[in-house]
Structures are given as structure tokens and as C-alpha cells.
Symmetry: C2
Subunit: 283 residues, 2 copies
């Protein structure tokens, strides 16, 4: 499965951003991609930097206008597209939703971000109702996709539940960046930790993994790019810098089963001893 990530900056003009998305999909398809992974909330600036009621006007239904655009491009170029939409589900119920369009344009499924962050510059708990889709992979013509979103990437539980449900790859649309008030050493630790924890999920589950992050400075957040694809031993297959780019990798689809034969972690999980993972804290 050849996978291509479209890493870009976002302006305040949704049409310009969707134009960048279109061009990325077209470029990916021309390069032979089977699947295109877009970044989180690719239609516009990262509005969660502050809490503003009017920002809810950016939300839209799913399926809806953005999925229709993505669906048309998926069909036109014959690629599976994983996109990201600020979903309006009902008045007062909004989600940060990943959407999957199959390569014939069919709406293959959605995943609503389960783990919602809230820290300075990332006020997501104000906007996003925690997802209730559970951790269910989405079947497409190119495989069973374990689609998660951004903050989910820090939680081994999410990756594991996708793997247990038969996901063949883990995919993370992302918007993460540096706090400019942090010093260089802290910024370096954060970027490295972000990559490392995800490589850890790949290793623990014997699955390839891709994360697509945005770039550019928006309202104090400096999005760090560094989109990457790794294989089932966490080995780096492709990694971007902090510039706009279209990044491709071609994980060997036979490799995960080989890796899981050598490292049969799923065989040895102590499912009799894990019940307390569903507790907040064991005190």
C-alpha cells in the first residue's frame, strides 16, 4: 500500500486550503498512491487556539460539503482519502471527525476523536464532544484502516483497540506544534516524544503507522510538521521537515505478519490482568 501524506499550512480561506488538498491528492495519485492521508482540520486555521462561540459556524454535517468534495477527488483520482472535518452532529454536539472516502468515492466511514485535549492554545474540550464511535477500523478497497486523530496518538489504548479489531495500519490526522515560549531543548524533546510514542504503538502492535501534521505559524502556535510513516518495527520509512510537502512511503503489506510471528505480543497479552485499565487511577 503506497501512502501519501499532504502536509501544508492553512490560510483563512477554506477554498485555498481545499485547493491545496486537491493538488496534494492529484500529486499523490500521479505518484501512484493508494491512500492519501490529510492533516487534522485541513480546511482552515486551527480555531481551537481560543474559545469563541462563533467558531461553531465552521462546523458542517458528515457526510456534507467537505466529504462531497473529498469524495469527488477520491473517485476522480482513484485513491482512498482520509480527511478531517469539524462535524456538526446536532445543535450542541460537535466532533473532531476523521472521514474516509473509498477510491470509488463511497463514504467508507468516520471516526470521531475520542481523546480531547485542552491546554493553552488547544482549547478542544470547548469545541469537541468526545467521540462515541469507539475504536473501530474502517474497511476500504486498500485495507482495514485504524483511523485515529491527533491527541489519540498519545494513548496506547487507542492503538491497541484498533489493532485488536484487525486494523492493518494506524493513521493520525494531526495538528500539533511548539509553544514558542518553550526553549529549544523542550521543543526538541516534545517533537521527539511525539514521534517516539507513535513509533511505540507501531512496535507494540506490529503495524505500520502514519501521522500527517500541519505546518506554519497560526496565532502563536508553531505547527511542527514532521509528518512521518513508519513500519511495524517502528522503523522510519519517510519523514518530512517543517515545510509544506507531499510525503510518500510504501510499507510492505506482508511485513506485519512476519513481525508478529517473531514478536507475538498479541499471543501473550495477559487479558486476565487488564481489567483495571478501565479505571481512572488505581488508588
Amino acid at each position: 500500500m503506497k501512502i501519501t501524506l499532504v502536509q501544508h499550512a492553512c490560510s483563512a480561506d477554506p477554498e485555498a486550503n481545499l485547493g491545496r488538498v486537491h493538488d496534494g491528492i492529484a500529486e499523490a495519485a500521479a505518484g501512484g498512491a493508494d491512500l492519501v492521508l490529510l492533516q487534522e482540520l485541513h480546511n482552515g486555521p486551527y480555531f481551537c487556539v481560543r474559545e469563541e462561540v462563533r467558531a461553531f459556524d465552521l462546523a458542517e454535517p458528515v457526510p456534507g460539503p467537505t466529504t462531497e468534495r473529498l469524495s469527488g477527488w477520491a473517485a476522480r483520482y482513484g485513491v482512498v482519502v482520509v480527511g478531517s472535518v469539524f462535524e456538526r452532529r446536532a445543535a450542541g454536539v460537535y466532533h473532531n471527525t476523521a472521514v474516509v472516502l473509498d477510491r470509488d468515492g463511497r463514504f467508507a466511514g468516520r471516526y470521531r476523536k475520542a481523546h480531547i485535549p485542552d491546554d493553552p492554545g488547544y482549547s478542544e474540550k470547548f469545541y469537541f464532544t468526545p467521540g462515541d464511535t469507539g475504536f473501530e477500523p474502517i474497511d476500504t478497497a486498500v485495507g482495514r484502516l485504524g483511523v485515529l486523530v491527533c491527541w489519540d496518538q498519545w494513548f496506547p489504548e487507542a492503538a491497541r483497540l484498533m489493532a485488536l479489531a484487525g486494523a492493518e495500519i494506524l493513521l493520525y490526522p494531526t495538528a500539533i506544534g511548539f509553544d514558542p515560549s518553550d526553549d529549544d531543548a523542550e521543543q526538541a524533546r516534545q517533537l521527539d516524544a511525539w514521534i517516539t510514542v507513535q513509533r511505540g504503538h507501531a512496535i507494540a502492535n506490529g503495524l505500520p503507522l502514519a501521522a500527517c501534521n500541519r505546518v506554519g505559524t497560526e496565532d502563536g502556535n508553531h505547527f511542527w510538521g514532521n509528518s512521518f510513516v513508519c513500519g511495524p518495527q517502528g522503523e522510519m520509512l519517510a519523514r518530512a521537515g517543517a515545510q509544506e510537502t507531499v510525503l510518500s512511503a510504501d510499507p510492505d503489506s506482508a511485513r506485519p505478519e512476519q513481525v508478529r510471528r517473531v514478536w507475538p505480543f498479541l499471543r501473550d497479552r495477559r487479558i486476565d490482568a487488564y481489567v483495571e485499565l478501565a479505571r481512572r487511577f488505581r488508588d
Copy 2:
């Protein structure tokens, strides 16, 4: 908390190996260590390379002869010692057990390896009954220790359960090595994956972590050393090569709480959605 790891080769002579352990503890204490982490099954060669009934004769009670030796050294040098014993619990019930001796020599507790590997050269399922201690940290004068053993290090569940129970550091006595029939690239991926997945546990839980591995070639297994200590963002604090060494690091005890304030993963875990982690596979 200054932590020192004693990474060494093992001969067929238990007294020589325990002498190496003693010297490592003495050297660690002279260097100001608060805690000494030993490697897995440090008393002798890694006998699990094949299945031999007579190898059970190596097992001993816990507390027992080895814990008594370690206890004496812990008290003499005033350091907490985390050791590893082939435990005979009953006829037919043997465990791969980590033991903790407090700095006054008191037997502080044990952890019986929960995840038991079995692959060519590592026939541990023949020898070790899966542990039933659960994932309970062990309190000592220098903190609450999340002691796990070797193969546990590939399982995010084990690290998480220790963190949820208030562990202040994750510690892994280890015996892992290369299969000489693998090519250099595969060996490099395996070593990097072993370090990365553990750094991932440190990150996901906001905890420092140390793994102490053996070195040397024994009966076809080439133990890769590379013992290390990382901080709560997975940042490498100290890392050994493949030679015998005494390795120290001094993780900042205030850092985990700071990291968890910036990255409050424990706040955001979706404990309502994790119940299926206790399933073998979600099919």
C-alpha cells in the same frame, strides 16, 4: 533519585556472577546511587535457551539464598536493590521474579513476570508460570517502584497499570539479544524497537524508565546490552553499549509532575471505552 544499572556477562559460576553483582552494587553506592537495578536472571547463564528439566534445580525460594545476599549488600551499602531470581514457589510452580530489597535490607516486595515469551532461544513458557502478582508497584525508601521484567516491556498495558497504581519509575531487569542468523539491518531494527517501545511507555505515562540488560554471547544468543535510563518525555539520560558497565543517571524527581501538567494524558483517558482491552482479539 540516582539510579545505577549493572550490565554484565554471566558465566556458569553463580558465585562469580554474584561477585560481579556485589562489585556493581559497591561501585554504584560509592558513586552515590540510591537504587541499583540488576539484569534479569543475573545469577547465571540464560538457561531458557533450551528446555531441560534439570534446569529447574536452579530455582530457589523467595525470600531465599539470593535475596539474603542482595539484602545484605543493600543494607551494607545503603541502596535499594532490584534483583532477579528464578523462583521456586512450589513443585511445578516456578516464576521469573523481580525482587526489591530496601536500603535497610528489608525485603520490600516481589513482582512475578506476567508476560512470558516463547520463541527460538527463549523457551520461557516451559519454565515460568505466568505471574499472578498483578501490576503492583513496590514501596521503598526511595519511592514507589514499578518493577516489571523483560518481555513485559513490549506491553503498554503493564506500564500503564503500574502508572495508574502510582509508580514513580518503571524498571525492567532484562535479558534480550540478537539472533545471529538475522542480518545487520534486522538486528538494528530490533534493538531500536526495544528502546523505542520503552521510551514510548515513559512518554505515555510521564515517568522515567530504566532497563538493565545483559551482555555476552551464550549458547547462540548474543545479548545486546544497551541498558538505558530515560526521562518522562522519553529523553535519553544514559545509555550503555554492548560491554560490561555500570551506568548511572539521576532523573529529576520533580519532572514527571511538570510533564503530566503539560501533557495530562491520565486526565483524558477514555476509561468508558477501554473495556475491550481485556479481549484476546476483537473479532
